[in-house]
Amino acid sequence: MNFAVISDNLLYFMVGSWPNGPIGGAALTVLLSLASALASAVLGLALGIALSQSKGWPGMALRTVLGFLRAVPVLMLIFWIYFLLPVVFGLDVPGVGAVTVALALIGGAYLAHAVSAGIDSLPRGQSEAARALGLGRWDALRLVILPQALPRMAPSFVNQWVALIKDTSLAYVIGVSELSFVATQVSNRVMVYPAEIYLFVAAVYYILCMIVEVGIGRAAARYRIRPA
């Protein structure tokens, strides 16, 4: 195997056309991952709290929507947002935006369940005691429940963010110039080194995922959490 093709095109793999064009390659993968990780965390937290607090019809409706988001392939959701939203609502969504929204929605749906489970896993006595002390519902959440529940949910967040990093590769399908897309362009041009190129690309993703797993794993250890 000849890995010269990697070193010859390393800059393109790492940053795409930048600065001669928009940012791409591994750098764009990182940016997409960060954006959707943040969005999905916020969404998951909000929806998870809503899920654990709600009963009756609103709860069922929310559960149905979240269930839909977890049943649909990410690819299909990306197609919907990128191709059909403009036709239906007249909103023009750039590729990067479509992928971020799709990943945020799906990541948020999974995290909502994790957050809700984390909150529900606390002994009822905690929320009862908080109320007995006169704390309102939201204060009880903010000061008593969440600080205890969040560390328990940390492994779920880590798993979801690792999944997000991998799922950014699906942006390939709508022509976003992230790492998989850029690598395929190079492979198409040189033609004879697909194995080397895709091994290299896999290695880059692996490193990114490991950074999240190990980096956050260490932070979690400081809270003395046992990983799931």
Partner: protein, 273 residues
């Protein structure tokens, strides 16, 4: 999420796209990124270049706006245009009646015929096609043509020509089908090109035009006029020579000129060497 939505903005509706382009200061064009010499990534500049991009640049220059090239594969050309994500499509876009229901076309600026690449000696006449595994590109007229004319052939559709050619080199298919000039471009860059050949027969004649959103009469008129002017000034010939001229890796005699009626001197392809 709200910020994202606000930043996206919306399109007013079928207003004058030409005026919108001038106002925005940018012309968005969909072009291929893996099909030399029509559209490919230049390793030096790390940007998309090629014959189609040269025409797009000429259009943008006439308008006095910046050119933004959006990479595409064949299947995404129409969706990108109809959803308003690009203003024009310059990506070896064959003019067909079926497509003309969804998009408008400019006058043709290139002509070619559908041909094949196969290992030497495998394919000598069109009748053999019915028994072969043939690689085609998703979303191209080539695919639809083959399915209509040679229904017994086994067709495997790929995202783009390089995928199909890789499959050919690995033995996953026995032949691939595309426009003749594109196939010449493929072989020019292939390392073991001498194992393959382009059989000299053609199974259809195609005219290639610029894809314009439906109903945008002013934009279409502008494109038509620019193309005609480019031919008259000799710029079209210069653009052609840059990609298919005698000094390039894909020398090919030019037999179609912009403004020629359809059918006259149709195929741009001299018999394959």
């Amino acid at each position: 999420m709200a910020l994202l939505v606000a930043a996206c903005g919306g399109r007013e509706g079928p207003d004058d796209r030409l005026a919108e382009i001038r106002e925005a200061g940018v012309l968005k064009v969909a072009a291929f990124d893996s099909n030399p010499p029509f559209g490919f990534v230049d390793p030096e500049t790390r940007r998309i270049a090629g014959l189609d991009v040269d025409y797009a640049q000429a259009l943008a220059d006439r308008l006095g706006v910046r050119l933004e090239v959006v990479p595409t594969n064949p299947a995404n050309r129409i969706p990108l245009l109809t959803s308003g994500k690009v203003d024009l499509v310059l990506a070896n876009f064959t003019i067909t009646e079926e497509r003309a229901r969804q998009v408008d076309f400019s006058i043709p600026y290139f002509a070619s015929g559908q041909q094949f690449i196969a290992r030497k000696g495998v394919l000598t006449s069109p009748e053999q096609l019915n028994g072969l595994r043939i690689g085609v590109d998703k979303g191209t007229v080539n695919e639809i043509n083959l399915r209509d004319k040679y229904p017994q052939a086994t067709l495997i559709a790929y995202d783009d020509t390089p995928f199909a050619f890789t499959a050919l080199r690995n033995g996953n298919v026995e032949a691939i089908s595309q426009d003749g000039p594109k196939l010449i471009g493929v072989l020019a860059h292939a390392p073991n090109a001498d194992e393959f050949e382009i059989p000299p027969f053609v199974i259809s004649q195609d005219l290639i035009g610029v894809g314009v959103p439906k109903g945008q009469a002013a934009l279409k008129a502008f494109v038509d006029q620019t193309l005609t002017e480019l031919e008259a000034s000799g710029e079209a010939q210069r653009i052609y020579d840059r990609s298919f001229g005698p000094q390039t890796r894909t020398p090919l005699a030019r037999t179609y000129r912009i403004g020629q009626p359809a059918g006259a001197g149709a195929s741009n392809l001299a018999p394959a060497a």
